[in-house]
């Protein structure tokens, strides 16, 4: 699914400044886009606008050719055909893995088959009967991903998917998630405040600050030609070695 955002603005308190201010970007079919920026810059808000949990003040959002949100129209989240992985995973504590994954499936007959397929995709075959509290953090995350993919969404949204994982697991999960998303062919928007996540996973990175987009482009481009000092400084924090020279990148 292709996603267009056109001059989208969202203000929470009508006296305050906008949380998201006149932003535009597109996500191509099958692309992984990463929203990157410091705390409070409006990443979550952008994601929730895409999901339909927040109503925008002005601007337009299209999924493929279809208008799904504008100033006086908001397609409810359940009709948008999106999947979402929450920061806290939001697995239903009263349901086991099987029931969680098949929550959004209407057709009873295909439930078992689908669940098995998804569990195989996330490498957790045989976990059907477990309850969320019986899973490790990384396993919970993969179940959440499987659940998000269960309804065959065109777009998958992830808010800080790695913030509850330790460094080692995080490295592993980045690769894993990238593989799963690429295999299932959905478009994805991943919110993170860790530049390394974005540089490793994304096809395109958007750097935000105070509700506006500082720069967008492929990782390589942002990394090599930061447009502003802010972008340079932000990516610099990643402390990644320059792939060409092998020296720590300094803005």
């Amino acid at each position: 699914m292709k996603v267009y955002l056109n001059n989208v603005t969202k203000t929470y308190n009508h006296r305050g400044s906008p949380a998201v201010n006149n932003i535009s970007f597109t996500v191509e079919e099958g692309e992984i886009l990463s929203l990157l920026g410091p705390s409070g810059c409006g990443k979550t808000t952008t994601l929730r606008l895409l999901a339909g949990f927040e109503v925008l003040d002005s601007g337009l959002i299209y999924f493929d050719q279809e208008l799904i949100a504008s100033q006086n129209f908001n397609l409810p989240p359940e009709e948008r055909n999106i999947g979402m992985v929450f920061q806290d995973y939001a697995l239903f504590p009263h349901l086991n893995v099987f029931e969680n994954i098949t929550f959004g499936l209407r057709d009873k007959k295909i439930k078992h088959q689908e669940c098995e397929k998804l569990l195989r995709l996330v490498n957790l075959t045989g976990f059907e009967k477990r309850y969320p509290h019986e899973l490790s953090g990384g396993q919970q995350q993969r179940i959440a991903l499987a659940r998000a993919l269960s309804t065959k969404p065109g777009l998958i949204l992830m808010d800080e998917p790695f913030s509850n994982l330790d460094t080692f697991l995080k490295k592993q999960m980045r690769e894993e998630i990238k593989r799963i998303v690429k295999n299932s062919g959905v478009s994805a928007v991943i919110v993170t405040h860790d530049p390394e996540d974005a540089l490793v996973m994304a096809d395109k990175i958007i750097i935000m600050k105070n509700g506006i987009i500082e720069q967008q482009g492929p990782p390589q481009e942002l990394y090599e030609r930061p447009a502003t000092e802010f972008v340079a400084g932000f990516l610099g924090k990643a402390n990644i070695l320059d792939p060409l020279t092998g020296i720590a990148y300094m803005p």
Binding site: F53, D88, Y89, A90, F92, H94, F103, T151
Partner: protein
């Protein structure tokens, strides 16, 4: 023209959206408005009625009854508050901080008086020391100020006991250690460190006790002591003076609000002593030769508040069984009680879920307003709610006037907040992300309610239902005022038999009510049976 209406509509919509944290659907909001209107109506109506009544009525009451009633009510409240403070703090300290024998058991036993409706305790004491009591003597007169104060204290000190115990458990031990190092002796530490730290909880506890004294009807009524509640009742039932009853109610509403304001004021700067995390266990203070007196104190409080009244009731029950009193009547009013109470609890639960979601999830000004409206009936004495409903139904809803529906509505208004509290308490543990997750998987708002919120709040809903059911079952003044002619309930029977002196007949009802009231204690203790990662997800 069309653009004008369009603009007005869009302005209205903006206003609407800004008054919510997250706007609900119109139909759901409308439901909420209707419920909160119903909840706030009787109170508003009493106030209007009182303000609208003749100046002469006000003048007459202020020059005759009100001064005496104020004196009766306030002096009783003051004495009971002081006594509950003394007993409650002493017992809490003994149980939490000393080597009192069996302190773990006392922690439970000393809360049990809350399980006994005070009018049942009073009933027991009347059967012992009343006019036709079996232990009647010239030294003990329970139809007196000391008698009333004594009984009220017995059944309200647990408020102080509970709150102060909880505070004692949370005091940071470092304060006391610092005082120790500064050279203070234990009694000085108690007076200069612990007691000041306990002040907020002592205040809150004694205000709860005072609020109870304001609202109690059964105990004062049975002992023929006139506070506002019993005076309002006789004004209405004995003298058919509705304006008078409304005026007295307004004074009582005013007094209650003063207390509530005070409570809010003291709570405002609470909890500066709280310590987070796991505290190391404090070494209990050795009572030495005070151990026996301490044990006697705790024991006699329990004896007087629980053992003696319950024992008396059992005695009457056995006597009744021997005399082969028939129980057919008993089953009839038990059925009545259970019918109205379960109807009220079920309806309340539905209302509470709607208001709870509007309050906690949609939030904002309107959500807050709705929740506030619903608490109106809870904070005020039942007599006032009953009068409000009586007036209102009489003028506007003649078709429910005199039916048991009035009782059901009154119980809903009176006790729905209990359900609201326990529903909201379990709702706040459910991350809104779970609801969003369900929406993103294709569920609509009602589906989310059914498949996510309902199963996850089920423990809270069950607890809420039970609480509301039991409160309705025990309720006395509202039931007396609103029941249809001939519609007797358990509580009504106890009231009637107490005055008619036919004690044997009331004992089974009283014991049944006490038994049923024990259930919530277990419920509260078993609260942690929820989902293990509730807090995380």
């Amino acid at each position: 023209m069309a653009t004008k209406t369009k603009r007005a509509l869009s302005a209205l919509l903006t206003y609407w959206n800004n008054r919510w944290h997250k706007p609900p659907s119109f139909s759901f909001a409308l439901l909420g408005f209707i419920i909160s209107l119903m909840m706030a109506l009787p109170l508003s109506y009493v106030i209007l009625r009182a303000l609208g009544s003749d100046k002469a009525v006000w003048h007459r009451l202020f020059s005759t009854r009100i001064p005496q009633l104020l004196w009766n009510t306030l002096s009783l409240t003051l004495v009971v508050s002081l006594l509950t403070l003394f007993i409650g703090v002493t017992l809490a300290f003994l149980v939490e901080r000393t080597n009192l024998m069996g302190s773990k058991i006392w922690r439970w036993l000393l809360v049990l008086p809350l399980v006994i409706p005070p009018y049942i305790g009073t009933f027991s004491y009347i059967t012992l020391f009343g006019n036709t009591g079996i232990l009647k003597n010239q030294y003990i007169n329970i139809y007196s100020f000391p008698g009333v104060a004594f009984i009220m204290t017995l059944y309200t000190f647990p408020y102080v006991f509970l709150l102060v115990s909880a505070a004692l458990q949370r005091i940071n031990p470092h304060y006391e250690e610092a005082a120790r190092l500064a050279g203070l002796k234990p009694p000085q530490i108690f007076l200069r460190v612990i007691l000041p730290l306990l002040r907020p909880s002592m205040g809150a506890g004694s205000i709860l006790a005072a609020l109870y004294v304001f609202s109690d009807f059964g105990a004062v009524g049975m002992l023929r002591y006139f506070t506002f509640t019993s005076a309002i009742y006789t004004q209405l039932i004995g003298r058919y003076d509705r304006s008078g009853a409304a005026v007295l109610s307004l004074v009582l509403i005013f007094l209650t609000f003063v207390l509530l304001f005070w409570e809010w004021y003291t709570k405002r700067n609470k909890a500066y002593y709280q310590s987070k995390g796991i505290l190391k266990k404090q070494e209990p203070i050795n009572l030495h030769y005070w151990r026996i007196p301490a044990l006697i104190l705790a024991g006699s409080v329990f004896l007087l508040a629980v053992a003696l009244p319950v024992g008396t009731l059992v005695y009457w029950l056995i006597l009744g069984l021997f005399k082969q009193i028939t129980f057919s009547e008993f089953w009839k009013y038990t059925f009545n009680s259970f019918l109205v109470s379960s109807l009220a609890a079920t309806a309340s639960l539905i209302f509470a879920s709607i208001i709870g979601i509007l309050h906690k999830r949609n939030g904002g000004f309107f959500g807050e307003l709705m929740a506030r409206c619903c608490f109106a009936g809870y904070a005020l004495p039942g007599v006032i709610i009953a009068i409000g409903i009586l007036f209102f139904a009489n003028s506007y809803l003649p078709w429910i006037y005199g039916t048991f529906l009035m009782l059901v509505i009154a119980y809903i208004i009176r006790f729905m907040p209990q359900g609201l509290q326990s529903f909201e308490a379990s709702l706040v543990f459910i991350s809104p992300n779970l609801e969003d997750a369900a929406r993103s998987l294709g569920e609509g708002p009602w589906g989310v309610l059914r498949r996510v919120i309902f199963p996850l709040t089920l423990p809270g809903l069950k607890a809420g239902w039970t609480l509301m059911f039991i409160s309705s079952l025990k309720e006395l003044p509202v039931t007396l005022l609103l029941r249809p002619a001939g519609f007797d309930t358990l509580s009504v029977r106890i009231w009637l038999e107490a005055s008619e002196g036919f004690y044997i007949a009331a004992a089974p009802a009283a014991l049944l009510l006490i038994l049923v009231s024990i259930i919530p204690i277990r419920l509260i203790a078993g609260r942690d049976g929820g989902y293990k990662n509730e807090g995380v997800s």
